[in-house]
């Protein structure tokens, strides 16, 4: 499942604030994509369904 950059960071901040274990996995995906890429990454692929659910649930209703 693809998530926007904002959705991803929002989930990371949420996991960081709450001390959730998903924080490390999310950070790993964020860093791998942003550090390795020469171009600006606008969306992140998350294959782990549980993690994807976490991102969706932490996304505040805007």
């Amino acid at each position: 499942m693809y998530f926007t950059r904002f959705e991803m960071i929002n989930a990371i901040l949420s996991a960081q604030d709450n001390g959730d274990k998903e924080y490390y996995d999310l950070m790993r995906i964020y860093q791998k994509n942003t550090q390795d890429s020469e171009t600006f990454i606008k969306s992140f692929l998350v294959t782990d369904l549980e993690l994807a659910d976490y991102i969706k649930s932490s996304y505040f209703a805007t």
Binding site: R5, F6, N10, L13, D17, Y30, Q31, F40, T62
Partner: protein
């Protein structure tokens, strides 16, 4: 007028063969305008006496290039035989010696050619350039200037003193400094720690302005230390490129989401704060990623709320996960954030220990840079935002000078400009996006 073809020899260690080949290419480029006849030991033919051939060619050379590296100094042939031959001719004004620093060598000044002008000019080893062709390009420029001078004025060398006693004295001094350094190893100091080599480089120091105990002072960072720093210029270029993309993405995202904000002001303000936090998180990670590396660095932002500075955003990826709410709460009328806001200048902890307020993570983060942003402060002049870049024990030795350069080159101004641009763009679309309003909201 036809230029004289200058004979050149290259003295190098065979461990550095690939880099010698690349240097040859650069000499061939020079040769297009300044004719050179380059010789190196690879031209020795089968059956030829190696030592005799080296001696003959060195004796005919107008310029002798020394490709200086630890392997070169370690090589008995290069160090004892070829350098001695070169120095002998140098002292008779028969040739020019050009030491080219390929990779870092300790005690360079104490070596027989230590007093000679080196290339690259800034003392930075060629191998530390990315790509190292950039280093050779600088060397080539220096060589061209030297050849032009040679055509104009001929050779006018200052003799090198090869007196063994004087070498011993130099070594004694170096050893004394090394011993002093070892004795002071555990002593906490506000000064930059120097290696014995760096202490010897006092002739080539770069002055940096830093705030020391509330006053702007000049500190010296020796060239030897500078050459070991990561390429700050490239890091800044990389950071700015990243920030332009992030700024566009974050502002577009913000503008798109405005019409989806809650009608309830309190909720909408909280949503604005979340958007602002994601932007700051991007800045924090980019700084860590571009300048130092994310693992042993923590870049954080604190905000002014209830007359205190409380954690707002912490970069991710650090080996010690920290929540923003775990950041030590700092007062708004004393401490480094206060002084930085008052002076409008970034502060380094080790220069400003008396202003440092101890925090709960002091055992982890031993050195940091604290800065504030000139735009946005309350009625008493206390800035709304502060930024800190912390280094732990593992990174402090390598990167503390990077912090000093960040302070000197005012990274805070660069970051402040991006924050401002983000705020202004958002404010153009959403009149309720006002820093002072959104900062007071809770994000939990």
């Amino acid at each position: 007028m036809k230029k004289k073809i200058l004979k050149c020899s290259i003295s190098y260690s065979h461990e550095d063969l690939p880099i010698r080949k690349r240097f040859n290419t650069h000499l061939n480029v020079i040769s297009r305008t300044h004719p050179l006849d380059v010789w190196c030991d690879m031209k020795i033919t089968l059956g030829e006496d190696i030592n005799e051939s080296i001696k003959n060619n060195f004796n005919k050379s107008d310029i002798i290039f020394l490709l200086v590296s630890p392997d070169f100094v370690d090589s008995a042939n290069c160090f004892e035989t070829e350098i001695n031959m070169a120095i002998e001719r140098h002292n008779k004004n028969e040739c020019l010696i050009v030491p080219i620093i390929i990779s870092e060598v300790v005690n360079l000044n104490a070596l027989p050619f230590g007093s000679l002008e080196r290339a690259p000019k800034n003392g930075r080893p060629v191998k530390s350039y990315r790509p190292y062709d950039r280093g050779f390009a600088e060397v080539a420029q220096q060589v061209i200037e030297m050849i032009d001078k040679f055509y104009k004025n001929g050779i006018n060398n200052t003799p090198i003193n090869t007196n063994k006693d004087s070498d011993k004295n130099v070594n004694k001094k170096v050893n004394k400094k090394v011993n002093n350094k070892t004795n002071n190893k555990t002593k906490k100091t506000n000064n930059i720690e120097l290696t014995n080599n760096e202490q010897n480089c006092s002739s080539s120091v770069v002055k940096y302005r830093v705030v020391q105990e509330g006053e702007l002072k000049e500190i010296a960072i020796p060239q030897g230390v500078i050459s070991k720093l990561p390429d700050y210029h490239l890091s800044t270029v990389k950071f700015i490129q990243k920030m332009e993309d992030i700024l566009n993405n974050c502002t577009n995202d913000y503008i798109e989401s405005i019409n989806r904000f809650s009608r309830r002001k309190a909720v909408a303000d909280r949503q604005r704060l979340v958007k602002f936090r994601t932007f700051l998180f991007e800045i924090a990670n980019s700084i860590a990623d571009c300048y130092i590396g994310t693992f042993n660095t923590r870049v954080h932002f604190r905000r002014l709320i209830d007359n205190q500075y409380k954690g707002l955003v912490v970069s991710g990826g650090s080996n010690t996960a920290t929540k923003a709410s775990d950041l030590t709460i700092m007062p708004c009328n004393s401490g480094m954030i206060y002084i930085s806001g008052r002076l409008g200048y970034p502060l380094i902890r080790s220069y400003n220990e008396s202003h440092h307020m101890s925090g709960q993570n002091d055992n982890i983060w031993v050195e940091h840079l604290t800065c504030t942003f000139k735009d946005g402060s309350n009625a008493q002049g206390a800035p709304f935002l502060s930024m800190g870049i912390s280094l732990n024990e593992t990174t402090v030795r390598t990167y503390k000078n990077t912090l000093r350069i960040m302070a000197y080159t005012r990274l805070d101004i660069i970051v402040g400009q991006y924050i401002n641009r983000f705020l202004n763009k958002c404010n153009q679309e959403d009149k309720n996006f006002i820093l002072s309003d959104i900062m007071v909201k809770s994000f939990k």
